[in-house]
Amino acid sequence: MGESLDLISDLPQSILENILTRLSLRDAIRTSVLSTKWRYKWSTLTDLTFDEKCVAPSTERAVVETNLVRFITGVLLLHQGPIHKFHLSTSFLQCRPDIDQWLLFLSRNDIKELVLELGEGEFRVPSCLFNCLKLTRLELCHCEFDPPKSFNGFASLKSLNLHQILVSPEAIESLISGCPVLEFLSLSYFDSLVLSISAPNLMYLYLDGEFKDIFLVNTPKLVAISVSMYMHEDVADFEQSSDYNLVKFLGGVPLLEKLVGYIYFTKYLSIGDDPGRLPITYIHLKTIELYQVSFEDANEVLVLLRLVTHSPNLKELKVSASPIQLFPLEEESFDLFERDYFDYKLPRLETVRMTDVSGIRNELEFIRFLMGTSPVLETVIVTSSLSDKEARMDMVVELLRFPRVSPRAQLLFLQD
């Protein structure tokens, strides 16, 4: 029996690294005490993920912080070879000079994916970050971001995620336009941002925050958009221009497959002068989810109708109605549905879900419209926010009256 009993240490390094990457970093490093062969097997791992679970828990926050800092510094010092992914996610660390040093170290070691999710408190990203020119993914949270004048962008960056970052809009704009291969962009938790996005390869856009105005200047490849738009109570904050926001925002995204909007997004789209027809047909759009649509506002309903009727391949529609305003707008919208909308067909629509329905005219008419134009419709789920049982009953009765074009269509009424 010349072979050693050792079952595992002589497997190829690629397999061992495959195994080690599936362990937590702490467990992976602990393999260094197994035997002489295992002493440095972990040290060439290229993906490092740190969080407070890497160190022993303690009731004292400062202890955890110090231990974590020592742990990360120790790991980086013992590490050999390139580091491609560095992921630090912990609320225990905020602004520490150690982070600057780690970033400097990483910038010299071919870092490709950098995720820095720190605790509250503006950590100022050091300038060495802007030298990490091999970056393909950057995710920052609770940081201050101030690129130097000489910075031209990250040529290889494909994914950018900025959450609660202190940064000037110009810096973001130039960062985005300086990343020619950017495919995924997520900006969240911003205040009053006016942004112009020019990203020829962008496919996924995720916005969440207080945006005053967004211009999608050059984003022909966008496939999925999700916008949660907050704003001040004063509606007049939105720029009132003659351009129709719907066209301005969604006019240049022919490849769109999924559209999701929350809060005031539909309202934002409805601003401006309606030109009549949309210049664009969304032949790839399969899913529309617009939440908090104010059905009392005819303009918002119009946006909804336009989108739906210009998406011949729409398969799934989810809409939620926003609660009734204190001062409802005039219900001038009867003729909204008298127009030539019923000539449209929604040939692929299968699922419709409408939530928070309060039974106002526009809501019901909209459902009637959907049921009258969708030959393959299967389910319509309606939930209501009404507390009054009678009002609910009336609504259900009315809904049941609507003619259905699809023989398989089911109308399901669910309690909230």
Partner: protein, 348 residues
Amino acid sequence: MSESDMAIIKPEMMKSYIWLETSDGSIQQVEQEVAMFCPMICHQVLQKGAGSSKNNAISLPQKVSPAMLSLVFDYCRFHQVPGRSNKERKVYDEKFMRMDTKRLCELTSAADSLQLKPLVDLTSRALARIIEGKTPEEIREIFHLPDDLTEEEKLEPLKNTMDDPRIRLLNRLYAKKRKELKERAKLKSIEVEEHVDERSVDDLLSFINGRDHKVVKTSKSKKKNKKKEEHKNGRSNGTCKVSNKDSRNLHSKQRSVDETSSSLGSVSNLLSMEDDIFSPKAEFEDGYIDDEIDPALKEMLDREVEDFARRLNSSWVLSSGQERQPVHFSINGNGATRRLTGPAARQK
């Protein structure tokens, strides 16, 4: 998959087979669609036209034994069927992974040689699940790993990712003790060399004169050191002469050792015992000093350190859960104390 299974297949099905030769020289045939699921085999067939007949069998890498090949093909046979749902595949995979660790490791190796990445990932995941959360001892036992790291290496400060100030203290204590023992060893080795030189003459002299070591009375410290080396070499007839030069050197060395021990004393009160140990040592005058003092000292120190370690471990364990067994500090590790041989080691 054995040949007998093949025999059951109806001839009208006209399946084509690939011929494969495993590391032990045995040749078998496998259904084409099953074998071609493995990229390595696929490559051989398409690029080199191998595997079409018994004579032209594809010879598989060494890591692929017949048993492993059979396992791999079971996997391939299931997964190459296109109609299966993801859930079915997952269920199969979970069941498939239930095997002892040895086979799991061999299977990983075999799958890797055949470049079957999904199976490599599956086995790696299973192995990772085995490793995670276990103590080093448990892992060593499962995979039959040799416990060949010195305690020192296991404790090296940089490696101490569970950084505890008490561990650092212990490491310092340990390092100082090592240094001190090193110095004493240096002392001895110098003496040995000198001793060797003198020996030939003195041996002769003493033999001629019929003297024995007990007669000689030099300073206590010198004698102590001298006796150490005598016993070290396993000879009881020591030399009487110690040149002045040497004695001066011995003195200075003794002083430095004392200094070290007193500085150790400042680190912990435990170490003040060392000072005590040093002084009673001087009282022994006999030639048998050697066996008792040096190893005795070492044993005493070892015991102190182990005690300390045990005390440390009990609270260390609570806070880290890293190594559950008490840490053993053995001086006769593979490290710096190599020069201490003979009775010292034997005493342990």
